[in-house]
């Protein structure tokens, strides 16, 4: 079984989950955890080949005419993500079995979770940028469902919607950017873009809009400033979701995209200033805001923001050291943050509170959770023997080595790390030590499913921290190599670098972190005014205002255009069409080509005269029923005309539609009151003018279309000629409907279906139905 089979299996498992849950109940998780774990094992077997500088590629044509193919590409960068997603995913599936134990909607939860996992795996393995976008949007939608899992809570729904709107808007911008990029580069395949000589892509004409649009996508997804606010609000989700989406995976999709495009975009003049500074601002915003939280989960959310900022900043700096540091940091963060989110969820689940001011002395009550959280916190703080230490060393080295505002990088880097260290103490150490305090629920250890994941992730952090060599050559090196465009890049990760500036800074960081932790309450009260002031002008309030504004505009235009009166709709649509056609008319002269027209027959003229009489009569009759009948005459006249011009299919359909329309009209009119109010004279004149204009415009359109036949070969000739040989049918109309233009027909019947459902909803589901 290959990579794609595993991804497909995970999707399939998702769709099977609700059914499995009905049969197996809470045990579903054990079965489903096999899928990501199997995928993880499979990805491990790919490591040697990729570490040797190789890459894998699969391609299946999908819509070749649009340059869209199902093409997948796995190199060092993808593989690192694949491994992290599948490993953390395995533990999340297990964890959810404990955390959401007994919930009847667990099956639905697994559906969304596995959909998300599959999309995320697909995203990082995509080669085609349109395919990448599709997976990108799938992660947005599935995360919307996951964040809003507690959908009975208003705040939960609002948070889910906020995340969807922010990332969805960014996704749309990104789609525009990717299409521009694909057109400008001449290929939609990332691997081909990366194979171009350095500097080709960023020197393309019109690269600036591509750059801005793609970055908007990456920044919204990875919650970069000023789009960061959705991430902490997404903490309304259950703990397993936060641990998966908001630590290891989804929010890193933006970082992944930046890393993926780095070889093509990285040499652009604006790359380092924009990406680097946005990352730096996000990092500082994250740690600053985290200091003001007391909810365990929100603290973790804000530190995640800070890490996302750090990763983005390192990608922005873009030197060899920075890329290496970025990948190490990413791996370290995925290991400790997923573990800490899970342990915080366990604390919440088993004690009933997440308030750090209340939690104390839980260590003896929940020993496994405490161990895992402690390892996670030490890694987060960058204490030696854990991978967090290694990543922080490289982070400092990269900053020391970074071009640009030299010492400023250092100051903000160390500053952020100090606060991060203090927050690590708050989230992973303090709740477990000290005197035990009574909690809302009787505190006890969670089931094994809830601590096995954090423990194993902690063990991995410890193993990679003590022996960073293997992970350096097999995971970090290839990943950094893909970003740098050098597949054979060597990343010699070492625990010990001798006494140097980075080590000195690390020691300083730890000392300062403990200091900050001790003065944290005073710090908070001192900076409270600043925090409050920023909150009132921050991007989140702007989001609220924009949302309100959109609603106001929507209500206003709905009131004008969609006021529920059919005659106004007809008026608007008809009037707008007339204006549009009149606008383009000067470019398309109307030619009266009498020679090519079929001479009028007596029957044809008679039918037309009858239709005109019936149409005029419709306007003057006094009852609805007569109006239906006279309109029916017009419709049947059209059918006769179709017959005369040898279009039996159209004629037949027209007659059938006429018949059924009359039936529907009768049924609908049955319950309308009698016509009492008739239009005023002015309204009648307006309507008459519009109707005349509409008729005139349609006539002109027909004449123009008729004239075009003399300039270009009409498509109908191709259809008639190929109907039998290519599509096996002699009825061209039908062949067009079911073969040549089958996709259109599929769209049309879907519209029909939606219209029918709309009628059903309007008539049957009215809330005030008697």
């Amino acid at each position: 079984m290959g990579l794609l089979h595993w991804i497909a299996l995970i999707f399939a498992g998702g769709f099977a989950a609700p059914f499995l849950h009905r049969r197996l109940g809470d045990r579903t998780g054990f079965l489903l955890a096999v899928l990501p774990f199997g995928a993880f094992v499979h990805f491990c077997t790919l490591v040697p080949a990729v570490a040797a500088g190789g890459s894998l590629r699969w391609e299946f044509p999908w819509a070749p005419s649009l340059g869209i193919s199902l093409s997948f590409f796995v190199d060092g960068l993808s593989l690192l993500f694949l491994l992290v997603i599948s490993l953390v995913g395995t533990f999340i599936v297990l964890y959810a079995a404990g955390y959401l134990h007994g919930k009847t909607t667990l099956g639905r939860f697994y559906l969304a979770l596995l959909l998300f996992m599959g999309s995320m795996l697909g995203l990082v393995a995509s080669d085609n940028i349109i395919l990448l976008f599709i997976f990108w949007e799938l992660t947005s939608i599935s995360s919307f469902l996951l964040i809003g899992y507690y959908h009975e809570q208003e705040s939960s729904r609002a948070s889910a919607l906020q995340a969807l709107l922010v990332t969805g808007a960014g996704g749309l911008a990104m789609l525009a950017g990717l299409i521009l990029l694909g057109n400008a580069a001449g290929t939609y395949e990332i691997s081909r873009m990366l194979a171009m000589p350095a500097g080709t892509i960023s020197a393309l004409p019109g690269f600036l809009p591509i750059f801005i649009l793609v970055l908007l996508g990456a920044f919204t997804k990875s919650a970069q400033f000023p789009f960061h606010f959705w991430l902490p609000n997404a903490m309304a989700a259950p703990a397993p979701v936060s641990a998966f989406l908001h630590s290891a995976t989804m929010v890193k999709a933006g970082v992944f995209l930046l890393a993926r495009l780095h070889p093509a975009f990285g040499d652009y003049a604006l790359w380092t200033p924009v990406v680097g500074s946005v990352g730096a601002v996000t990092m500082l915003t994250g740690v600053f805001l985290a200091m003001h939280q007391s909810d365990l989960k929100r603290i973790l959310a804000y530190t995640t923001l800070a890490v996302l900022g750090t990763l983005t900043m390192l990608l922005g700096i873009g030197t060899e050291l920075a890329i290496k540091a970025c990948m190490t940091y990413l791996l370290a963060h995925a290991l400790y943050k997923a573990a800490l989110f899970m342990t915080s969820g366990t604390i919440d689940h088993e004690t009933g509170t997440r308030d750090v001011a209340v939690l104390s002395g839980l260590g003896s009550k929940m020993p496994f959770t405490a161990t895992a959280a402690l390892i996670g916190a030490l890694s987060m703080a960058g204490i030696p023997l854990l991978i967090g230490f290694v990543s922080k060393e490289y982070f400092y080295k990269a900053l020391l080595d970074a071009p640009g505002p030299g010492v400023l990088w250092e100051v903000i880097g160390v500053g952020a790390s100090v606060l991060m260290g203090a927050l690590a103490i708050v989230t992973g150490i303090r709740p477990f030590f000290g005197r035990f305090r009574e909690t809302p629920k009787h505190a006890h250890e969670g089931p094994w499913t809830m601590w096995i994941g954090p423990i194993i992730l902690g063990a991995a952090a410890l193993k990679f921290g003590i022996f960073p060599g293997w992970v350096g050559t097999h995971l970090i090196g290839p990943a950094a190599g893909s970003i740098l465009g050098e597949p054979a890049f060597e990343a010699n990760l070492k625990l010990w670098h001798g006494f140097n500036t980075a080590l000195f800074l690390s020691i300083l960081t730890v000392v300062l972190a403990v200091g900050v932790y001790l003065i944290a309450p005073r710090w908070r009260s001192a900076s409270q005014p600043l925090y409050k002031g920023l909150a009132s002008v921050g991007p989140e309030s702007a989001y609220g205002r924009i949302l309100d504004g959109i609603l106001v505009v929507a209500r206003w235009q709905t009131g004008i255009l969609q006021n529920g009166k059919l005659r106004n709709y007809v008026l608007t649509v008809g009037g707008f069409l007339v204006l549009l056609v009149i606008w383009v008319l000067p470019k398309n002269p109307v030619v009266l080509d009498f020679d090519r027209m079929i001479p009028p027959s007596i029957l044809g003229v008679t039918v037309c005269v009858l239709m005109i009489i019936a149409a005029v009569a419709t306007c003057f009759v006094q009852s609805r029923f007569t109006a239906i009948l006279t309109l029916g005459v017009v419709g049947l006249g059209v059918a006769v005309l179709f017959f005369l011009f040898s279009a039996p299919d159209l004629a037949m359909t027209q007659i059938l539609v006429e018949t059924l329309t009359v039936v529907l009209f009768v049924l609908a009119f049955y319950r309308l009151p009698l016509l009492r109010e008739f239009s005023s004279r002015a309204v009648k004149i307006r309507d008459a003018l519009l109707a005349a204009g509409f008729g005139l415009v349609m006539t002109m359109l027909v004449l123009i279309a008729f004239h075009f036949e003399t300039i270009a070969t009409p498509i109908s000739e191709y259809m008639s000629a190929n109907s039998l040989p290519m599509a096996n049918g002699r009825n061209v109309v039908n062949v067009i409907l079911v073969d040549f233009r089958a996709l259109d027909t599929l769209g049309e019947i879907t519209v029909l279906a939606i219209a029918a459902l709309g009628v059903f909803a309007m008539l049957k589901l009215r809330p005030n139905k008697p």
């Binding site: 002699r730 039908n734 089958a742 027909t745 019947i749 279906a753 049957k764």
Partner: protein, 140 residues
């Protein structure tokens, strides 16, 4: 509306119309007809029955809820589209059985697609007719 003449004739006509609708569907690829007109004819036959015997009776005769029919039709149409990709051909490529069957004629994915259209049209029209005629007139 409960009249002897309508009730008697509508049974006969309904059967004829239904047969005719299938006939239209099957011949559509070569001669005038097709899923859309076939579906409309089938829908009018049920509408006629509803006029004669009432909507409840028509619903019972149909057995399936029109909304379900719409769903089935869409799925059938979609299935006909994804047959080709199984053999590495583009989405919606028409595949035909070379040997025509007696009465039915040649079978192929476009015919299946047309059948989907037939079912959707039948479902949509009946949904409209049934919903409109079931609603009690509002007494002001």
């Amino acid at each position: 509306m409960n009249t002897l003449i309508l009730n008697t004739t509508c049974r006969v006509i309904m059967g004829l119309l239904l047969v005719f609708s299938v006939f239209l569907l099957l011949r559509g690829h070569n001669l005038p007809g097709g899923g859309f007109s076939g579906g409309l004819v089938a829908a009018s036959s049920f509408s006629l029955f509803a006029l004669g015997y009432g909507v409840e009776a028509a619903r019972r005769l149909l057995r399936i809820h029109p909304c379900t029919l719409i769903g089935i039709g869409l799925v059938v149409a979609l299935v006909s589209a994804v047959v080709a990709p199984v053999w590495d051909l583009p989405f919606f490529t028409g595949l035909w059985d070379k040997n025509p069957l007696p009465v039915v004629g040649k079978l192929g994915t476009p015919l299946l697609f047309d059948t989907g259209v037939y079912i959707v049209v039948l479902g949509v029209v009946l949904q409209l007719v049934f919903s409109f005629s079931e609603e009690e007139p509002e007494k002001n």
